[in-house]
Subunit: 289 residues, 2 copies
Amino acid sequence: MNQAPGFYRYKIGDITLTAVHDGFARRPIEGLVRNAEFADVKKAMEQAFLPPDALNITFTTMVIENGGKLTLIDTGNGDSGAPTSGNFLANFKAAGFDPKNVSTVIFSHFHGDHINGFRLKDGTAVFPNAEAMVPAAEWAFWMDDAKMSAAPEAMKGAFAGVRRVFGPIAKDVKQFEPGKEILPGITPIAAYGHTPGHTAFAIASGSGKLMVVSDITNHPALFVRNPDWSAVFDMDGAQAAATRRKILDMASAERMQLAFYHAPFPATGHIGKSGNGFELVPVQWTPAI
Amino acid sequence: MNQAPGFYRYKIGDITLTAVHDGFARRPIEGLVRNAEFADVKKAMEQAFLPPDALNITFTTMVIENGGKLTLIDTGNGDSGAPTSGNFLANFKAAGFDPKNVSTVIFSHFHGDHINGFRLKDGTAVFPNAEAMVPAAEWAFWMDDAKMSAAPEAMKGAFAGVRRVFGPIAKDVKQFEPGKEILPGITPIAAYGHTPGHTAFAIASGSGKLMVVSDITNHPALFVRNPDWSAVFDMDGAQAAATRRKILDMASAERMQLAFYHAPFPATGHIGKSGNGFELVPVQWTPAI
């Protein structure tokens, strides 16, 4: 007895987007937010009708069809994550896609839940015909051996993971800077803080636009609602909070549709103001694409 | 290029529920709410990031699996509704169900979008082995020829529709009263006002419970948010508003999960308080059932 496959299609102008679910990882609440009282975090969970002790952090990647080309932003956990994750490939195929037809994989940043789906643990390239495009600032940080040596022990695995995924194709990886269109309709936007090169993406076609905001927040019930809270995943908490507030303010003012990586599936909606923070208003599911 | 099939499974104790989407009908906003200024209705739509002129009213039926028996609550529009509706059967089959295996169809009330899926226009019984269970008060109203004669012209079609669907099996239809369990774990609850016999259903298994609230509201962005607003679909506006507020108050106080017929798919969530009204907090989609 299965759930329906985890994909959701929608259009931005002539571009077809497909949100593809990679599953979830259960994470205790305790210690998740750096700068909030545990009681306040529990209260935010309660107000969102989420369990008081642990959060299911979900992973939703973006597939972009434009002009006959198939592009991904991020790849999910592959076979390196929690047993409840790694569903990207099954859901991607259920949506009618073939990994061989992916021409480009764009990465928002180099955390494992975004890059590990690009290469299986045995070394297999999951998208054999795809070019990899990465933020130059992200590449500069994680591929710097001096930074790896200087990193705390707990972070060394993340550096090794980046090398595992990108090492075999390092010379072919295409680095990009923010602010300039890198593929038709896709423009990277610096959204630093979560990681040194963490990037959002403006998607535009005709009068339609949307921003793929990657990890500017973890779960919206906590971090859209309370944008000044810092998740332990944010490498530079202050910079990440400034980025978060700036993008959520802009999205609210412009009534722009956003796509998140860690919002509940299908992980897209609009931003309303709510008290000192914001709220994510999910799109209404529709079979009409 | 299709959307993923419109079904969503979840558990209440040992009972498996499957929300099955029947599609939607587009309805102009103007004239939709009897007792609110049009500008206020447009503002509520804007706050929900819905279009300012028309609402896609969605239809989501409930499938209940308990002890090897397959039960439905309501059936969708069948082939009698808008071209964008009538998807129940396709989604029901995509969820792995066979209409022949349905043992009981329970009806919440007799509006066409709830009953027409039970019988095709050509007379075919869609669930050939199913017993029909209906609220006694609803049956008494709609099957009363004197009430049909006395009804305004615009309502005569609704009376005729009830006869079209139930006429061929009228002697076998099982009528029930509210307040007593009618099938294991399923107890009807009087929720009169939307129609004379409009019924909600408590679903209970072990410590798990949920209420199928049927049409106590139309779209939650309007009528959960503003429970005193009356949709033109409510036959007794004042009684429907009292029922709506009573059930939403109870759900909020008890933090009980609800399933709606006209909420965005998968049409289930919890009720928080918000100003003088409420808000529906949808459940987080999960592949884990």
